[in-house]
Amino acid sequence: MKSYNVYMSGVGGQGIGMFSEALVRAADHAGYTVKAVDTHGLAQRGGIVVSQVRIGETVHTPLVSRRSADLVIALERHEAQRALIEMTATGGVLVFYDTVWQPLDVRLGKAPEVETAQVEALCRQLGVECARVFSPDLPDTRMQNIAVLACICRRNLIEKVSADHFRQAMTDLMAGGMLENNLALFDRELQRN
């Protein structure tokens, strides 16, 4: 692999930080050199939270250039569309969790909500593979990111990063009941078609 760029986006409070950390550690367990950077601070107050991960020996900066992300992951539909426009490389993949946290202007009735079909259509237009994730029966909405992680693993989107690498990463980061619940959900979601 020459280099592989991942751009993750969501809304403050969705758990992008933990998600990104799991991905970074899984790639590390798979033997890759990884560089990453998260946005912190102000953006967490219901703003956009972004994490960027770059894999490969020849990578220097953790920052992904515009329209050069091989994999875009979004935990919310508007952020999926935004990241798709800004960041996805032609031939890249978008994985998004199809929930909606309406941005201010949508709530104020000044802008229309982005629809799932719009995201899918734009993917086709841009030559981007689209994977929509939605699990109606999650025990806790804050586990949406595990469903997305499982989707990435199931589809083998990051070469050589296997389910065991993801499990190892989760074990690095969590303990006790939280770890058990997340591992169980991860395994359950892996079975999904």
């Binding site: 403050g12 409070g13 590390d28 946005t39 912190h40 953006a43 107050r45 900066t61 709530r107």
Partner: protein, 629 residues
């Protein structure tokens, strides 16, 4: 689970994936740092989070959050005069607050050594500006080391500590946002705990420590001499690095993260320019620059923000009569924003169009996605306050914001807080706005951490000079915006439980006669109190109190008996007046295409502060929902 605290104290060498803000704490441990102080501000608070991961009794150094950056600097300085290696860290603009003390440090013989860690913020990701703090280095004769990634943060801190201890002078370690927050696998050395020497070694004979009149000059001379010594050291320092691509025509002098961007941008370029990456950015290692200039026909100075390095390089070339063509900033755009790979590509394409083609970002013809500005959290007491206060004031009244979560009140739908400067500035600006002003009430806002940080002088001035304004203290018990650090009224400091310093009693002690207080969820009462307060001639105060609900909810969720409650909208009763979405504005309320309003169950925390906002009482009392926390 890997425990950060254990890792930071590991005795054998190891590698771990950490961010810059964590790597620096391991470096503090290895360097034998004894005292670390700070005031919270992005991008640095995670340094304190890493410190907190080491149990207090196992922590090899003392840490405190001081009331502001100036005090933090003074505490670290004082400790260093007793012989303890110390470190103070804070965000970019924190240096403005610390400056009166900071600019004197280089005059002093700091026997323990002192590292000043700055978190600059190119791109103004979470700051009021993107000031380039290298200017302060020139102003105060203080050397600056600038790492580019977490591995360098670790290494450069160790070098800074060593240098500072040897020369008994302050050294700046300048980090920027995406160095603080970058993550990678860092290789750490082993660590052997050393017995600490607590002897208070302060001695006037090490001084002078009193910079007045004629004493200032020998002290300044010492600072300048030290700078010379650092310059000589810098010539040999491995912190500066040459990437020799065998290009005798073109070279780039750069530093820090812009260098990483450059390396990536140049990855597929055939005739890569040579690169001189400076790790010691002040004083600039003159001989290294001269050598690099002599070896190249054209040199680009690639630096984020301002043009300090460019001026230095050009002056050197001029002094020596070199014919090398030196190019720095080319237009105003080059002075702004973070030097991401995209930005560096643009800058380099302007400089050498034949080398780097201008970026082609084919526009995607599609409707723009609505912006998502940060906002107050569900249940935030500031929201209830703004909702009530807006109704209590006349549209022409002037509202002055201060720094903190409540700053976000300027956004729609509240439009509360029409001007903002920096921490603690609201009262002074409000006082000015009240002069000659008989028609428009002036109302200022201030958070509780800010009150202690820099708020008091403005307040005392307003009392002293009898200004006619109303201050609303937005008291949520914590320094919320930067991640819930305790402050003097929280009842805890970083290390232990303390007595709260009650804001109300301070204000009473200052002689303010009109003080009222209320929980912000009592919106009607708050509105009434504000109207009473603005009617008072002189300085009046309303303390608008509610605990930070983000912090509160997080704590609640950790309890085993936690049950989540949420509100529901009775669609029968709802008349679609939309007060909840368009005026109260809790992000929990979502607007359907048909004009109906629903509750986002990912977001609602069941605080119920919205109930009063609904004119038709369609929002039901929070009910237990069947979801685990």
């Amino acid at each position: 689970m890997k425990k950060m605290g254990d890792m930071l104290l590991r005795q054998e060498p190891f590698s771990e994936i950490v961010m810059g803000n964590t790597a620096i704490v391991r470096a503090m441990v290895e360097a034998g740092t004894r005292v670390v102080t700070s005031y919270p501000g992005s991008p640095t608070p995670e340094i304190a989070a890493a410190v907190a991961s080491i149990p207090k009794d196992a922590r090899p150094f003392y840490f405190e959050f001081s009331t502001n950056e100036k005090v933090a600097t003074e505490v670290a300085y004082g400790a260093a005069l007793n012989g303890h290696l110390s470190t103070v860290f804070f965000k970019s603009v924190g240096l403005n607050v610390a400056a009166d003390t900071f600019v004197q440090l280089s005059l002093m013989n700091i026997i323990g050594g002192m590292v000043v860690v700055l978190g600059d913020d190119p791109g103004a990701n979470s700051s009021q500006n993107e000031q380039d703090n290298r200017h302060y280095a020139y102003l105060s004769y203080t050397p600056v080391l600038e790492p580019a990634n977490p591995q360098e943060v670790y290494r450069f801190y160790l070098e800074a500590a060593d240098l500072s201890r040897k020369l008994c002078m302050p050294i700046i370690l300048r980090l920027t946002t995406h160095v603080c927050h970058a993550k990678e696998k860092v290789a750490f050395q082993g660590w052997t705990p050393q017995p600490a020497d607590d002897t208070p070694r302060f001695d006037v004979a090490n001084g002078p420590y009193i910079p007045i009149t004629r004493l200032v000059f020998p002290m300044k001379a010492r600072a300048l001499e030290n700078l010379e010594k650092v310059a000589a050291w810098a010539e040999k320092s491995r912190l500066n690095q040459v990437f020799d691509h065998g290009n005798r025509k073109r070279g780039v002098i750069t530093m820090g993260p812009p260098c990483l961007s450059l390396l990536d941008v140049m990855r597929d370029v055939e005739e890569k320019p040579d690169i001189l990456k400076l790790g010691v950015v002040y004083p600039v290692p003159r001989e290294s620059v001269v050598r690099f200039l002599r070896e190249h026909q054209e040199v680009k100075v690639l630096e984020e923000l301002d043009n300090e390095l460019e001026k230095e390089v050009k002056a050197i070339a001029y002094d020596l009569g070199l014919t090398t063509r030196v190019t720095g900033k080319m237009d105003a755009d080059d002075w702004m924003g973070e030097y991401t790979p995209d930005k560096v590509r643009q800058v380099m394409a302007k400089t050498w169009p034949d080398l780097v083609p201008a970026p082609v970002a084919p526009p995607v013809a599609v409707e723009a996605v609505p912006d998502r500005p940060p906002q107050m959290c569900p249940g935030c007491g500031h929201r209830s306050a703004f909702h009530a206060i807006r109704q209590a004031l006349a549209g022409t009244d002037i509202t002055v914001a201060d720094i903190g979560c409540h700053t976000l009140g300027f956004l729609p739908p509240y439009h509360m807080g029409q001007l903002l400067m920096c921490m603690g500035a609201s009262t002074g600006m409000g006082s000015g706005l009240s002069l000659f002003n008989k028609t428009r009430k002036v109302v200022t806002f201030m958070g509780d951490s800010t009150f202690f940080h820099a708020g008091l002088p403005g307040i005392i001035n307003a009392i002293f000079n009898r200004h006619n304004i109303t201050m609303i203290v937005m008291e949520n018990g914590t320094t919320a915006m930067t991640g819930h650090q305790d402050h003097a009224a929280s009842g805890r400091n970083f290390n232990e439980v303390t007595d709260k310093i009650p804001i109300r009693r301070i204000l009473e002690g200052l002689g303010i006669s009109h003080i009222s207080e209320v929980d912000t969820y009592q919106q009607e009462q708050l509105g009434k109190l504000v109207q009473e307060a603005v009617a008072v001639e002189g300085f009046s105060v309303v303390i608008a109190r509610h605990p930070c609900m983000l912090k509160f909810t997080r704590e609640q969720r950790r309890r085993p008996d936690f049950t989540l409650r949420q509100v529901e909208i009775d669609q029968e009763t709802c008349e679609r007046l939309h007060v909840c979405v368009s005026e109260f504005g809790c992000p929990t309320f979502t607007l359907g295409k048909d004009g109906s309003v629903k509750v986002n169950t990912d977001l609602c925390i069941g605080d119920g502060s919205c109930l009063q906002a609904c004119p038709t009482a369609a929002i039901g009392k929070p009910k237990i929902v069947n979801k685990a926390g």
